[in-house]
């Protein structure tokens, strides 16, 4: 019985781990498809749209100091409703009609992985 329980627990843990890594891979895919156009594939703010004429500098997600000033809720707002919703540039589109809420939540986790920061709490 004990053995069976251990096997069950290990299987459950493993499947959770797989689910989490699939989720992370999906979020990376979403990031690369939609966000990298301006923020770059590695999130440094250097996507192909950013020429010398680009009117603003897209956020560099590797800058932990700047990213730490924003809470997850701030990130969600700007992704869903666009730059102007947080007094930033309209060059940041409102993605609320394009992405699902789960995709946006996944993106936020992905961004926290890039900046290696937790962001403003509370």
């Amino acid at each position: 019985m004990k053995k069976l329980l251990i096997i069950a627990a290990v299987t459950a843990l493993a499947s959770q781990f797989t689910a989490a890594s699939t989720e992370a891979a999906d979020s990376e895919k979403v990031f690369k498809f939609y966000c990298a156009q301006c923020h770059g594939l590695t999130g440094k703010g250097d996507g192909p749209n950013v020429t010398k004429d680009f009117p603003v500098s897209p956020r560099n997600f590797t800058n932990a100091k700047e990213m730490d000033k924003l809470s997850d809720a701030d990130l969600k707002n700007v992704i869903m409703d666009g730059g102007p919703s947080v007094s930033k540039s309209p060059m940041m589109p409102p993605w609320g009609k394009t992405l699902t809420e789960a995709e946006v939540d996944g993106l936020i986790k992905h961004l926290r992985g890039i900046c290696k920061c937790k962001g403003k709490q509370g």
Binding site: K29, F33, N49, F54, P90, P94, W95, K97
Partner: protein
């Protein structure tokens, strides 16, 4: 004296127009499209097949099942015979520049493939709605209110090409795109491109504003020489 001459000229023009539409041969064009290997990168049977990002990224070129509603015939015929890059970047790629290596079709094939592609229309593009026109409201939305210019090139002041590079260029889009398609694409994005890098604007822009943008973009044409 002038009137009979004009009548004759108009009749001749009408005959030429009629003749060319009679000569249009979509079936020959379809055969040429397949023989030239176009199907390796483009699909022509709608409705849209893409359901996921992977589906979209698996494509090597744009879907063409509504090409007859999207493009202008004159432009398409010339482009197939002498293709010039429309996208600054390679299709579905953010790192590689467009190599400009789209195959060319010789005269007769270009004409028949044009006829074939122009026969592929969508009932979701009602005709005669959008009249290209200088449109300050559309310009305001395109350049300032919404991020359209962030991903798409256009000709700005003093003929300077401005705008981003991840989307297809809209420089002279008024020669390439059917004005009615521009509006339909904004209003029903999921019909044409269910998964795409461009944000969905339905629910964010009113129908009136979409019309303003469509009229503005449809008016992207070379300025007439004075």
């Amino acid at each position: 004296m002038m009137k009979p001459f004009l009548t004759a000229a108009l009749s001749a023009a009408f005959l030429v127009g009629t003749a060319s539409s009679v000569l249009a041969d979509p079936a020959a064009g379809k055969a040429a499209f397949e023989a030239k290997g176009c199907t390796a990168c483009h699909y022509t049977d709608g409705p849209a097949k893409e359901k996921t990002i992977d589906d979209q990224l698996a494509k090597k070129g744009p879907e063409l099942w509504y090409a007859g509603s999207k493009f202008q015939k004159d432009w398409l015929g010339k482009w197939l015979a002498d293709p010039k890059p429309i996208r600054p970047m390679k299709f579905n790629d953010l790192m590689v520049e467009n190599p400009g290596d789209h195959p060319k079709l010789a005269g007769a094939d270009a004409a028949s493939v044009t006829d074939f592609l122009m026969s592929l229309t969508s009932a979701d593009v009602p005709a005669g709605k959008v009249k290209p026109k200088k449109n300050p409201k559309g310009r305001q939305i395109f350049i300032k209110k919404m991020p359209c210019s962030g991903c798409q090139q256009y000709t700005g002041r003093k003929k300077k090409i401005s705008g981003g590079r991840s989307g297809p260029s809209l420089v002279e889009a008024g020669l390439r795109l059917n004005p009615d398609w521009i509006l339909a694409y904004l209003q029903k994005p999921k019909v044409f491109k269910p998964v795409k890098m461009m944000p969905v604007f339905t629910g964010l822009l009113s129908d009136k504003d979409m019309m303003n943008v469509a009229r503005y973009v449809a008016n992207f044409k070379p300025k007439k020489k004075k």
